[in-house]
């Protein structure tokens, strides 16, 4: 039966697993006073596998990375964030990060699935058979995934800061990592995001210089603005000018800016749009 699923059905299933992770985490918090680390991680990993299958099918249908409309951009961003979480989550050993990641992934994927208009048109081979420009887009979106995780650790840092200042340390607060650990992981994520986005911009600029008509000024400005904001935040943080609460708020702002920038970026593309139909698995010979 699963073999007959089209891409959207796989992605619905994946979103269901993320949502189940969120529900289990909430139930565990309310019932047992702590998030369920291992089970939430397992649900996220299962959702990730299913999302990979769905995006894989979509990728085959579009002949490249599925980044052709807002729906796909949201899905890819969520997938990037989860990819990182699955690595970081093991090292960081924070059940709260898993709970927050499941919540974010469920929100992004369910929102993208719930708005049919976001997936009503699709650009076929909009990268023009150019693997470099495809790499540019994939790197940019992956960096947005990094910013998504940065937003989560920033949120955790704000909660930890609030709990320590308000002297309220019970419940969810008792499972948050230390302030210094959160600050360090935030710094590493921001550095990773800046480097990935810089690499994406370098690859994109190389292509754009040869064909200035390939991207609008609006898209260029928005993408460079996001990278500049992230770079400035990184420099200020390294110089000790952006710390603790302000650094955490910046992390949240950066992700919001990255998410908002998806619309101008998406709407500025010139490729031919065709109505989207769910991509079915390839027929067997």
């Amino acid at each position: 039966m699963l073999a007959a699923f089209n891409d959207r059905q796989w992605l619905w299933l994946s979103a269901g697993f993320y949502f189940a992770g969120f529900l289990l985490g909430t139930w565990s918090l309310l019932r047992r006073g702590r998030p369920s680390g291992v089970w939430v991680y397992a649900l996220i990993a299962a959702g990730y596998g299913l999302q990979l299958a769905g995006l894989g099918l979509r990728g085959r249908a579009v002949g490249g990375c599925p980044l052709g409309n807002t729906f796909e951009l949201f899905q890819f961003t969520a997938w990037s964030a989860i990819s990182l979480y699955l690595v970081i989550g093991v090292a960081f050993r924070s059940s709260v990060l898993g709970y927050f990641t499941a919540s974010l992934a469920a929100s992004l994927t369910l929102l993208s699935l719930a708005i049919p208009a976001w997936d009503s048109g699709r650009r076929l081979r909009f990268f023009g058979h150019n693997p470099w420009i495809e790499l540019h887009a994939a790197l940019a979106l992956f960096s947005y995934g990094v910013f998504a995780l940065l937003a989560l650790t920033s949120l955790m840092l704000l909660l930890r800061h609030f709990s320590l200042k308000s002297k309220n340390l019970g419940g969810l607060f008792s499972f948050l990592p230390s302030m210094v650990d959160l600050d360090q992981i935030g710094l590493r994520l921001l550095s990773t995001g800046v480097v990935l986005l810089a690499a994406s911009l370098i690859v994109g600029a190389n292509y754009w210089l040869r064909d200035p008509a390939s991207a609008s000024i609006g898209k260029l400005l928005v993408t460079v603005a996001v990278w500049l904001a992230a770079s400035i935040a990184l420099i200020l943080r390294l110089r000790g000018r952006l710390l603790a609460k302000r650094f955490a708020w910046t992390g949240l702002f950066l992700f919001a800016a990255a998410l908002l920038s998806l619309w101008p970026i998406d709407s500025s593309r010139h490729a031919v749009t065709v109505p989207a139909a769910p991509s079915n698995p390839p027929a067997r010979p």
Partner: protein
């Protein structure tokens, strides 16, 4: 009678006051000598001695109540303690009740500080010592293995060990909430009194490697520093060198504050990337209250820490019955296993009397 003779004999802080426990306490050497002497008692098949500052307990397998009476007599004679007085403090249980008691001890339910985890290690050590002395057998091996499993299970499934209940440990927990691993955390103790010493001990036991003591009395500061392998700092330099530290513990008897808001703000400017944690255990207070308003500085005073410790104690108390019920289920199951036919009979306490009479 078809039950194994698993028994517990001894006394605990619940029954005997400190003065009695002092007289009954055994050091390692005395414990080994006692074990050797007890090994000669006929009918005593297995034995483990659990000897901590709050309890002296003999767990073993005996053939009859007479065997237990003999153990008690030997112990009282060795400690020069009147047997009839021991009988008034004695705790004597057999079978499932003895197993349940051991489970509760290992879980920290029977501890003076409810839910403390140190006792688990002490029970493990007692069992390991008994194994080394070859005084354990099939019953004790099974009972102790199951005890460790049950204690771990209950500690995971309930909130019986959640949070710290002593002021010093609450302070260390808070420092961990801010800095994570304490290995690289630099701690400054202001004051070299009892409270400072307890806090230093708590920090060191949780991995803090860098301790510095500053006291108005430099000699006392150096004395405490030597005890903890720490360094001493002239008291008048405390504010100028504040930026070198992550955690500042105030416990002086100074009549006025010894750390000002201005000094804390200046320290934060010098080390912007790391927070500064102030623990004020002094009365009157050592640290100006305005420090709490500084960005990236956290200030907790005695009342704050006491409130947190009390909330943890209440949370642990609320879990006692649930934990006990879980252990009862497990002790009943274990008792069924060890009391299977073929096991040695239990020493039966006489009705209405203590399980074992003094010799």
């Amino acid at each position: 009678m078809n039950s194994p003779g698993f028994f517990l004999l001894g006394t605990t802080h619940q029954r005997a006051p400190l003065a009695v426990r002092e007289k009954l306490a055994l050091d390692a050497e005395a414990s080994a000598a006692l074990q050797t002497e007890l090994a000669t008692i006929a009918g005593l098949r297995e034995l483990t001695i659990l000897n901590t500052c709050n309890r002296i307990e003999f767990y073993g397998v005996a053939e009859s109540p007479e065997t237990l009476a003999r153990i008690e007599a030997v112990f009282c004679a060795r400690q020069c303690f009147p047997p009839e007085e021991f009988a008034t403090f004695r705790l004597s249980l057999v079978g499932r009740e003895a197993i349940q008691h051991l489970f509760e001890v290992a879980t920290g339910l029977d501890s003076q500080m409810l839910g403390e985890t140190e006792i688990f290690g002490q029970v493990k050590a007692a069992y390991a010592t008994a194994q080394t002395r070859q005084s354990t057998g099939p019953v004790l091996n099974r009972v102790f293995q199951k005890t460790f499993q049950a204690a771990k299970y209950v500690r995971t499934q309930t909130a019986i060990t959640v949070g710290q209940v002593s002021i010093a440990n609450v302070a260390v927990d808070l420092a961990q909430n801010i800095f994570g691993d304490l290995k690289a955390t630099r701690i400054l103790l202001l004051g070299a009194g009892d409270i400072g010493e307890k806090t230093a001990k708590a920090f060191q036991s949780r991995g803090a490697a860098s301790l510095t003591v500053a006291s108005r009395n430099l000699e006392r500061a150096m004395g405490l520093a030597t005890t903890f392998g720490a360094s001493a700092l002239p008291f008048e330099q405390r504010e100028a060198r504040l930026a070198e530290f992550d955690v500042v513990v105030g416990s002086t008897a100074a009549p006025e504050t010894v750390v000002s808001v201005a000094a804390a703000a200046a320290a934060l400017r010098k080390r912007p990337a790391r927070p500064l944690f102030f623990i004020d255990l002094a009365l009157p207070r050592d640290i100006e209250a305005g420090v709490a308003d500084l960005e990236n500085a956290f200030l907790y005073n005695l009342d704050d820490l006491a409130k947190i410790a009390e909330s943890h104690r209440i949370a642990r108390l609320a879990e006692v019955e649930r934990a006990r019920a879980m252990l009862k289920e497990k002790s009943a199951a274990l008792w069924q296993q060890v009391s299977a036919p073929g096991a040695p009979p239990a020493p039966t306490p006489a009705a209405g009397k203590p399980a074992v009479s003094p010799a």
